[in-house]
């Protein structure tokens, strides 16, 4: 194998033992999303208390990249304030796993890597719009989610 590595130790490990894998009953935020191309399919669940993400879980079926990125994303946003999370950029997630190169090298696999982030942005978009009446943040999040990849 050559080129930039995808299947690093960390990615394999996360795909075997994903973090925060499971379901939250009656979550404050729930978003399902899938990639029509490959069939990756995940559900993201969040609980929020006074704008702070108190709990986050995900479940579903996906490839190693999708599982690893979803795991790391949930680790990164747990306990964070929604105002910080709404600014979360894709590079932050990708660089955590050394996958920035996918943006250039694999337009197909980047969709696997960013599926959970897309679900997150859409999920909190609805929350900002419906629960917090923050139309501006909601609008931005919706645009970002739609144009993520």
């Amino acid at each position: 194998m050559s080129g930039d590595p995808i299947y690093t130790e960390m990615i394999i490990e996360y795909s075997r033992n994903p973090s925060n894998y499971g379901k939250i009953d009656e979550p404050h935020i729930h978003r399902h999303d899938s990639n029509p191309l490959c069939g990756d399919s995940i559900d993201l669940y969040l609980n929020v208390d006074d704008k702070k993400i108190t709990d986050v879980k995900f479940d579903g079926k996906g490839c190693a990249i999708c599982m690893a990125c979803s795991s790391v994303l949930t680790e990164m946003i747990k306990g964070k304030d929604l105002d910080d999370v709404k600014k979360f950029e894709k590079d932050e997630l990708l660089s955590e796993l050394g996958l920035e190169h996918l943006i250039k090298t694999s337009p197909v696999r980047i969709k696997c890597a960013l599926l959970s982030l897309k679900a997150l942005k859409y999920g909190i978009y609805s929350y900002f719009a419906e629960k917090m009446n923050d139309v501006e943040s909601a609008g931005n999040l919706k645009d970002e989610a739609a144009n993520l990849y």
């Binding site: 194998m1 080129g3 299947y7 069939g39 490839c63 190693a64």
Partner: protein, 414 residues
């Protein structure tokens, strides 16, 4: 033509892309032929010659180029009719692919022949192109869509068809001739004969059959048959709908526009003759012309030789892959009952990961749901890997696939 494995091996020289190196100098091993096949130089030349020498719109102008182009275009129609053993080339309608052919039937035939409470039957192993058009039609008409399930061998449970037919409400049974995921060859004649006894129409998605085996439409005697050129050495953007003339004559047009009319007045129009009634607008002239060369190429090899070559490869692939620890193979174990398609999963590694890792070794397979999510649900998997063969595939390439799988095991520490 005497077809030995050397004969097939020598055909590779006709395919420029097979010379290619991919991913840092790896020899291309192209095993994604069920998605689309590569094109021989003869087909590529036919298309480029047409643009260099004849390019013109067809069926209208009287100048030399137009007449030549029209003749070449219509020769392909005759060639398709001959290839499928149908008596009348007016029954051959050019569309952009199998998907459009099925949508044409769902719209133009479905509109007048399906009503509330009627039943359309399809199967669990259909491509989305033979499911979604029927969902749209049955939802629109308040009709019902029913499925013939598959058994553990990946074969249709034909008894279910008898139940559906006994209701007297079935209007059409639509099924693929060969499954694009499992490779299962459908017992088409048995289904057609049951349907004929019940006075029910049949539509066959032949996208995975016509490229790989002799298809004789006179012998089959179904009502509609659809397939695509690009899966049989031809260009993309060309497909065929064949249907019985008496049915086509009663059908309303699918699309309105140029070429499909006889006379247009302010508030009414009369239709052109078959097949032009269903070919609105300027067709894909160059690619239809290139398609004739593709059919001639296949005829020269002989469809029975092609079938035997693929049977040999499939037998070999199933034997070799069964020996690989951690492989799950889908579909019937009897090579004779399947086309040159092998779907598999490797341990619990997601097919997308398998596809990416073996791509580094130049091996091109398809990973995903293969536009058959109903089947994926049935198999209870998110996706599968699929290796599919064609005339230029060699046993060595299947070996390369198996060696590449060892890298997957290494990466995932299996």
């Amino acid at each position: 033509m005497q077809a030995t494995s050397e004969t097939f091996e020598s055909l590779r020289n006709d395919f420029p892309v097979l010379e290619r190196k991919v991913r840092d100098g790896k020899k291309l091993v192209y095993l994604d032929n069920a998605a689309t096949t590569q094109k021989p130089i003869q087909v590529i030349d036919a298309i480029s010659d047409y643009y260099k020498n004849n390019n013109s719109n067809i069926h209208r102008a009287v100048h030399a180029l137009a007449e030549e182009s029209t003749e070449a275009f219509e020769q392909t129609r005759d060639k398709v009719a001959e290839f499928l053993n149908t008596k009348d080339s007016q029954e051959i309608i050019f569309v952009k692919g199998t998907t459009e052919a099925i949508n044409l039937v769902a719209n133009a035939w479905g509109r007048d022949n399906v009503k509330e409470g009627d039943i359309i039957v399809t199967t669990e192993y259909e491509h989305h192109s033979n499911i979604v058009p029927w969902q749209l039609l049955t939802q629109d008409k308040k009709a019902q869509l029913k499925y013939i399930d598959i058994d553990d061998n990946g074969e249709l449970m034909i008894d279910q068809l008898d139940e559906y037919l006994s209701t007297g409400k079935v209007k059409l049974v639509a099924f693929s001739h060969v499954s694009n995921v499992l490779g299962t060859i459908t017992p088409a004649k048995e289904i057609i004969s049951k349907c004929k006894n019940a006075g029910v129409k049949t539509l066959i998605d032949g996208a995975q059959a016509v490229p790989h085996m002799k298809v004789d439409l006179t012998e089959l005697d179904c009502d509609f048959y659809a397939f695509s050129a690009h899966k049989m050495l031809g260009p993309t953007g060309v497909g065929v709908l064949w249907a019985k003339k008496e049915i086509l004559e009663k059908m309303i047009p699918y699309q309105g526009g140029g070429d499909m009319i006889r006379e247009v007045h302010k508030y009414e129009t009369t239709w052109n003759d078959l097949p032009y009634k269903f070919e609105a607008g300027t067709p894909n002239i160059a690619d239809v012309i290139g398609f004739k060369t593709a059919i001639e190429y296949l005829q020269k090899i002989g469809m029975e030789n092609i079938r035997n070559h693929e049977l040999e490869l499939t037998k070999y692939a199933l034997e070799q892959m069964e020996k690989v620890p951690g492989i799950t193979l889908y579909g019937t174990k009897e090579p004779k009952k399947r086309g040159g398609v092998v779907s598999f999963n490797f341990n619990d590694v997601h097919p997308h990961d398998v596809g990416t890792i073996i791509d580094k070794d130049g091996v091109a397979i398809r990973s995903g749901h293969h536009c058959a999510q109903v089947l994926m649900e049935k198999l209870n998997v998110a996706a599968t890997n699929r290796a599919s063969f064609y005339i230029y595939t060699t046993k060595e390439e299947i070996d390369t696939l198996i060696i590449a799988l060892q890298n997957v095991a290494k990466v995932f520490k299996l």
